[in-house]
Symmetry: C2
Subunit: 312 residues, 2 copies
């Protein structure tokens, strides 16, 4: 059994097609076929049913493939161990980020980061907090950028900054007249919310103290899939929504007039880098942390006048 055989096996499972898998591995189809056969001979079992189209793993094949994926992940760690020990900022890093941060935070630091560390291969994926933590725990991600605290003891959190929540109101809302608002100024029946799964949803419900009035929720007619949609809803249909601070950066002058900050203590969320307790790639993660903090205003790095809202 060789690592190459395991790579071919996993590629074949991924593509379910010999020629495509071979191409992905940068070898010819007979090469991949031969090596998968050799592995099958060595183990004494058929790993794929080639009579089906596309080919499918056998029952035992599934189990072997699962262990093969584990082995390949663990073998990749050897290079990470060396890189981490040398402090080299190199290698692949798989980053998960929640959708309410991704479009605002990523553009701020990613360009700098990939220019400064050309040896790092960055893989970013947008996930809800729940999916992200699950992948972290399965070692399918190296680091996450999420809202904390998570209260998951397997995971270490490095707080990055504190992001204020603000209200975004149509002119027709009563609260529009005020300079600073309180949570009770927000009319729950006019509030646009993101759909289930976004952690910000629970926090907004907490801000507006709607937690226990879940039956009330039936009144909301539409649940948006993104912050951008929420803004549009307010602009087209009136009402109010809650936005995170970083999303304000690309508002037009006109849109800014619709923003109202809360009275102190301002509701905020804590944004952190999270990773498994015994993580590798420390130097890459450290570099990423530094690059993010470089583009975040100083006043967001402390939480002086804010009040961190609990997660839903």
């Amino acid at each position: 059994m060789t690592f190459v055989q395991l790579e071919y096996l996993v590629a074949l499972d991924t593509y379910r097609h010999f020629a495509m898998a071979a191409e992905n591995c940068c070898v010819t189809q007979p090469t991949l076929s031969m090596q998968v056969q050799k592995l099958e001979d060595e183990l004494g079992v058929k790993l794929f049913d080639r009579s089906k189209q596309p080919v499918v793993p056998t029952e035992i094949g599934e189990l072997v493939i699962k262990q093969a994926r584990l082995l390949l992940r663990e073998s990749a760690k050897i290079k990470d161990i060396v890189d981490e020990h040398r402090g080299t900022v190199a290698g692949e890093i798989r980053v998960g980020i929640i959708p309410t941060l991704a479009p605002y935070l990523l553009p701020l630091f990613l360009d700098n980061f990939i220019k400064k560390y050309p040896q790092v291969k960055l893989k970013v994926i947008e996930l809800t907090t729940e999916q992200l933590i699950s992948k972290l725990n399965k070692d399918l991600l190296d680091v996450g950028i999420v809202v904390t605290p998570l209260q998951d003891e397997r995971i270490t959190e490095y707080p990055l900054f504190y992001e204020e929540f603000v209200a975004y109101l149509s002119e027709s809302e009563k609260a529009y007249q005020k300079e600073f608002i309180l949570s009770e100024d927000i009319d729950p029946n006019h509030l646009w919310l993101l759909e289930e799964g976004h952690c910000i949803r629970g926090q907004i419900l907490n801000i507006c103290e709607l937690r226990k009035q879940n039956s009330h929720m039936r009144n909301f007619e539409y649940e948006a899939g993104s912050i951008e949609t929420l803004k549009r809803m307010v602009e087209h249909y009136g009402g109010v929504t809650i936005l995170p601070e970083l999303s304000l950066r690309d508002l037009t002058v006109k849109q800014r007039l619709q923003v109202r900050h809360f009275h102190t203590p301002k509701p905020t969320r804590e944004v952190s880098l999270v990773m498994l307790r015994h993580h590798l790639k420390k130097s890459i993660i450290e570099a990423m942390k530094t690059e993010i903090l470089n583009v975040i205003p100083e006043k967001m790095k402390q939480n002086i006048s804010g009040k961190v809202i609990e997660l839903g």
Copy 2:
């Protein structure tokens, strides 16, 4: 990086000597040297300091070797996965067993087992319960034969049989005159005990209700390392000790006269096969379980008139 390179690396760490490591791997010394060098070149770090004698791993070498050992363990599991799925009783199995069971239980079933399953490579090691559980959890053992219950949630227990404790007395002991004895018949000041670390020690203290009188223990002059020594102590110096039922089998006629069973409920210990919750090699373990149960008398398989003593 190849599995062969990892094997050579681990062998070199084990033997700290190129020629010996090579011999162990059934290759010549230049072959092993070359492959270790290639691995070092690929990773870009020196893994061994060859200026020392014997050679020693570098700091980073230690870390890489640790991961290499993990990889080799995980790669061996692929064959185990296949064997388990086929129900084949084949492969290597690493068995830990406590010293108070080993000399009495192993001879009963091992001969049969290795004859019946010549494809199984059996590695048995004698360990205290604590060491055994630690090795099981580190995946350095496949299965243990210990006294239960352990109350370790990572570990699954398959009870095998219930073994009675009996008293072994010199003629000068008062209790020698009785047909069946009670725990209070045993004079704590005449009691020979095994040294710390044996689980049976705690159980005997429990039987004799000596748990809280630890200061009392100072009176014991000698702590034996094996059940056999305990018997000798009684025979040469008088006094009393507690033996497990299986150790009675090779007593002489004369020795048997010194054995006294307890009144019901007789104190007993529960002997189990233990393994990690998600274990492989199910079929080998199942075979071993069957072979053991084949040589254990039916009446030991239930615990009718006995009272299982808690572990120390």
